[in-house]
């Protein structure tokens, strides 16, 4: 087999430098190294070690755009990219509004990364997972403990034929713990998760303990579906905010008319106390200095004073809308190119309430820990549906009185956020398993959340 080239970036620069006259392009090298310790039935069942790299080359020839990618980092593998991309571009429809590739405009300060995370060994990752299991079972001895620890680093280098060359690194450490007691009917569970860019701040032992202590001891009750005030704990709040990022701020949604905010930008849509930004540089998120087109990440207000700002844009969508990129370019290859630019490092402004205060303020309502299998029902109305999972509780007269059987919600995201009455003080970060996207949010209390059916557990 062919051997990886020692300097793939130089080889990509060669590929860009030898494009035919009049053809421009950009290229990416994306390296990653991950350790995943997936545990179930209270033991590590799927330990996964991965190191890899992908290179991609996008060309623009006579306004026609195409992309080729490979994980073959040999000279031949990288060398074949230009021919493949050019062959695709020759038959592509024209993209007359493509603004061209950006020129270098100064250096970009690095963002927070963690060398300890990058270096964390396989065995250390396994110890983190083991600590979560031990802590949970110390609290609930017969519990079934499941979850995962993901630790890794990714580096992204973008270069283009205008001379831009930028790099960034992202580190991430994530853990989730589910603790289930099976000796009740129905079984009950508790959940906790954490996401850090610095693995030394990730404490799976604490997460295991928290998840175990959230396992209810009171009998599970059934409640009628209907409208309830709801405290959305961080994982549930993050899910709603994540959907708003796609339904309201995706650049394709704006272009294609399905964005729920397309005709509402600049108008008040939520209470002024709810502030939302996207900030790839903030250590509150999982920082990444540039997007996948080399544009600098920066603080981008999404909702200020309750009013929605513009959508997230990349080079193509910005060109079509006559705007400039907002630094939200995804990898141009499939599936990201089709998904379109979206905010990936969203941060909700902190409020001043504790979870206990939110609960005390409710006469009758619910606390939702997290959601499951949430899907879009109607994009332009921001209606989504999904189930509650792993800890849904009934509140009466300001106190949690019982866990309840899980409920299905069918609810407008904007409606839920418009009904926010209290915003939590403590913010936590919820990231995806490889830190590609994160939402940092406090818990939220919304006054009117619609549950449409119930399940039996």
């Amino acid at each position: 087999m062919t051997r990886p080239t020692p300097d793939p970036i130089a080889r990509l620069a060669d590929a860009l430098g030898t494009l035919p006259a009049g053809v421009t392009g950009d290229a990416r090298l994306h390296r990653s190294s991950w350790r995943t310790m997936r545990f179930a039935n209270s033991w590590i069942h799927q330990p996964h070690v991965e190191s890899g790299a992908t290179v991609s080359l996008r060309v623009v020839a006579d306004g026609r755009i195409a992309t080729a990618t490979t994980t073959d980092l040999s000279d031949a593998g990288i060398g074949s990219l230009a021919a493949t991309a050019l062959a695709l571009a020759r038959v592509a429809p024209r993209e007359p509004k493509f603004p061209g590739f950006p020129e270098p405009d100064g250096t970009i300060a690095p963002v927070a990364v963690s060398a300890a995370t990058r270096r964390l060994s396989v065995d250390a990752a396994a110890r983190l997972a083991a600590s979560a299991i031990e802590a949970a079972r110390a609290e609930v001895p017969d519990a079934r403990v499941s979850g995962a620890v993901h630790v890794g680093a990714e580096s992204i280098t973008v270069l283009n034929s205008s001379g831009l060359r930028r790099s960034t690194e992202r580190t991430a450490a994530e853990a989730s713990v589910l603790v289930e007691r099976l000796d009740t009917d129905p079984p009950v569970s508790g959940w906790a998760e954490g996401s850090e860019w610095d693995a030394t701040r990730l404490d799976p032992r604490r997460l295991g303990r928290v998840a175990a202590r959230r396992v209810p001891t009171a009998p599970v009750r059934s409640i009628r579906p209907g409208r309830y005030p709801v405290v959305l704990r961080v994982p549930a709040a993050a899910e709603l905010v994540g959907f708003l990022g796609h339904l309201g701020f995706n650049g394709h949604g704006e272009l294609e008319g399905w964005s729920c905010l397309a005709k509402r930008r600049g108008r008040r849509i939520v209470p002024p106390s709810f502030e939302l930004t996207d900030d790839g540089r903030s250590p509150l998120s999982l920082p990444q200095a540039i997007d996948y087109e080399g544009a600098a990440k920066r603080r981008t207000p999404l909702i200020e004073d309750g009013r929605a700002a513009g959508p997230a844009l990349d080079l193509v969508t910005a060109g079509r809308l006559g705007a400039t990129t907002t630094g939200h370019g995804m990898p141009p290859e499939s599936p990201w190119g089709e998904y379109g630019p979206s905010p990936c490092q969203m941060i909700v402004g902190a409020g001043d309430a504790t979870e206990a205060e939110m609960i005390r303020s409710m006469r009758r309502g619910l606390v939702v820990t997290r959601f499951h299998y949430v899907r879009i029902v109607h994009p332009s109305r921001s209606i989504i549906t999904g189930m509650t999972r792993d800890g849904t509780y009934l509140v009466e007269d300001g106190e949690i009185v019982a866990p309840v059987r899980n409920l299905r919600f069918t609810q407008s995201v904007l409606g839920a956020l418009a009904g926010i009455e209290q915003i939590g003080r403590a913010r936590e970060r919820v990231g995806d398993e490889r830190g590609f996207a994160a939402v940092t949010t406090p818990a939220l209390l919304t006054r009117d959340f619609r549950f449409t059916s119930a399940t039996v557990f």
């Binding site: 991965e50 890899g52 991609s56 490979t70 065995d123 995962a148 294609e256 549906t385 189930m387 119930a454």
Partner: protein, 482 residues
């Protein structure tokens, strides 16, 4: 390739290692071409190469993957897999048992096709997509048209310390169109032949040509526009008929995932969830009406879940999952089969590629056709709703409470399909819903669909699976407009 497999196996068999499997995928090719509103939405060609090594020690698994396909790269990955297994063993609770692979796999599997999609001229593919996309624009309300084509080719070498060694080349294709119509604040999308990228098959370009998307497109565009003005779906408890494409997804979500034995045994509890089924339910649990017959068939010609051997070296099999309404079997791997003392694995352990660990995945999970024509399914329904082409889908983590929305609905009035209704949604609980199935469509209503985007696992994996389904009728279903 054999040298590389040998180097990896040699390096993986350290003292204490009970077994090792090596998968080498080189290349895994993917081509995605898409046109949106006359512009190139995605023109992507990608190749991936990877080597994956899974080792089994007495009480722990280990997996590592690399894209460095040299002997040094293979040895490094083997060391990582060994390290992963030794590290995982710190939490071990019991020895790992696996059932026999049913004889070491030997041989070669290859997709039967007439025209390699990667050899078809790009201009021909783009011309088809451009023509189809253009034909979607049947009126000014069609704000967005989209036509896409996907093709995958995976060349795989598999070897195990138990003596298995096979090669496999699988080619899969799919294409589809969708139109988004917008007017007066209403947005409606209509797809063809179905949503999520269209109609997929393990085949060559001949499958795409036969879809004839340019001819289908005007109907899709007109239906998108018509949906803008259609009345909302009625609300009530009604008889419904599910078209084949929607029933395929119903099978996927409420039978396919529910019968994955790793879910039932709680190995997916922390992420995808578990199942309402228990091992003890096999042979006794009533899943649905006696008309319900479901198989998992990895030998079905043309399915996205068709192959020669799975990623544990187990030969492709056909397993009965539901027999006349009774739970009859599960989707299994060698480890999960051993936990139930089953004689063999059903051969459903598959990975997205060599860069991922094999998990239990659906093959082609099919609802077998019954004896009713479409007219007979509609017959006797005084007032009901017909659902076609999935738009939204959600189900709880035990696969019980579900809610599905489709792109299009039609009133069924006095036994005949009536006018369109928009935003139709139906919901229910899995066993009660399947128990209400009182008529199953015949072969004329049956189609083998492909689901190209089934997600599972951490790190996440996307599987392409197949579902054959006829149309079918269900009674007393909760229906409403979204």
């Amino acid at each position: 390739m054999d040298d590389l497999l040998d180097a990896a196996l040699d390096a993986a068999l350290t003292p204490g290692t009970r077994a090792a499997e090596v998968r080498l995928v080189a290349p895994q090719r993917y081509e995605h071409l898409a046109v949106r509103n006359g512009e190139a939405s995605a023109l992507t060609a990608s190749t991936r190469q990877a080597l994956g090594i899974r080792v089994r020690r007495a009480n722990a698994w280990g997996f590592a993957t690399t894209a460095d396909l040299t002997p040094a790269g293979a040895r490094s990955a083997a060391r990582d897999a060994d390290r992963a297994a030794r590290s995982a063993a710190r939490t071990a609770r019991a020895p790992i048992a696996v059932v026999d692979a049913h004889g070491p796999a030997h041989g070669r599997y290859a997709t039967r096709l007439k025209r390699d999609p990667f050899a078809v001229d790009l201009a021909e593919k783009l011309a088809m997509l451009t023509a189809a996309e253009r034909a979607l624009h049947t009126g000014p309300e069609v704000k967005s048209g989209h036509a896409s084509f996907h093709a995958w080719k995976e060349a795989k070498w598999f070897a195990s310390s138990e003596g298995a060694r096979y090669t496999s080349t699988i080619v899969q294709v799919g294409a589809g169109i969708d139109a988004t119509a917008v007017a007066n604040g209403e947005v409606q999308r209509r797809s063809g032949p179905t949503s999520f990228g269209g109609d997929f098959r393990q085949a060559g370009w001949e499958w795409i040509a036969a879809l004839d998307l340019p001819s289908l497109a005007p109907t899709v565009g007109r239906e998108a526009v018509a949906l803008l003005r259609a009345p909302a779906c009625p609300t009530g408890t009604l008889p419904i008929v599910l078209a084949s494409d929607q029933l395929a997804l119903q099978v996927h979500e409420s039978v396919g995932h529910a019968t994955e034995l790793d879910r039932i045994l709680a190995f997916e509890a922390g992420y995808a969830g578990t199942s309402f089924l228990t091992p003890e339910g096999r042979g006794t649990l009533r899943y649905g009406s006696p008309l319900m017959r479901i198989v998992a068939d990895a030998t079905e010609p043309g399915g996205l879940g068709t192959f020669g051997w799975d990623d544990e070296g187990v030969p492709a099999a056909k397993t009965t999952i539901v027999d006349r309404g009774l739970l009859a079997g599960f989707l299994t791997s060698r480890e999960t089969a051993a936990r139930l003392d089953l004689p063999r694995s059903g051969g459903t352990a598959r990975a997205e590629g060599a860069h991922r660990m094999p998990l239990i995945r659906m093959t082609n999970v099919d609802l077998l056709p019954g004896g009713s024509s479409m007219d007979e399914l509609l017959e006797g329904i005084a007032d009901g709703v017909y659902f076609e082409t999935n738009r939204s889908w959600s189900i709880d983590d035990k696969r019980l409470n579900f809610q599905f929305g489709t792109e299009i609905g039609r009133r069924i009035v006095r036994g005949e399909l009536g006018p369109l209704v928009r935003n139709p949604i139906y919901a229910g609980m899995t066993p009660a819903f399947w128990a209400s199935m009182d008529a199953v469509g015949d072969r004329s209503t049956y189609h083998l669909w492909g689901v190209p985007n089934c997600g599972k696992g951490q790190p996440s994996q996307v599987a392409r699976v197949g579902h054959g389904a006829p149309a079918a009728r269900f009674q007393n279903v909760r229906v409403r407009g979204g």
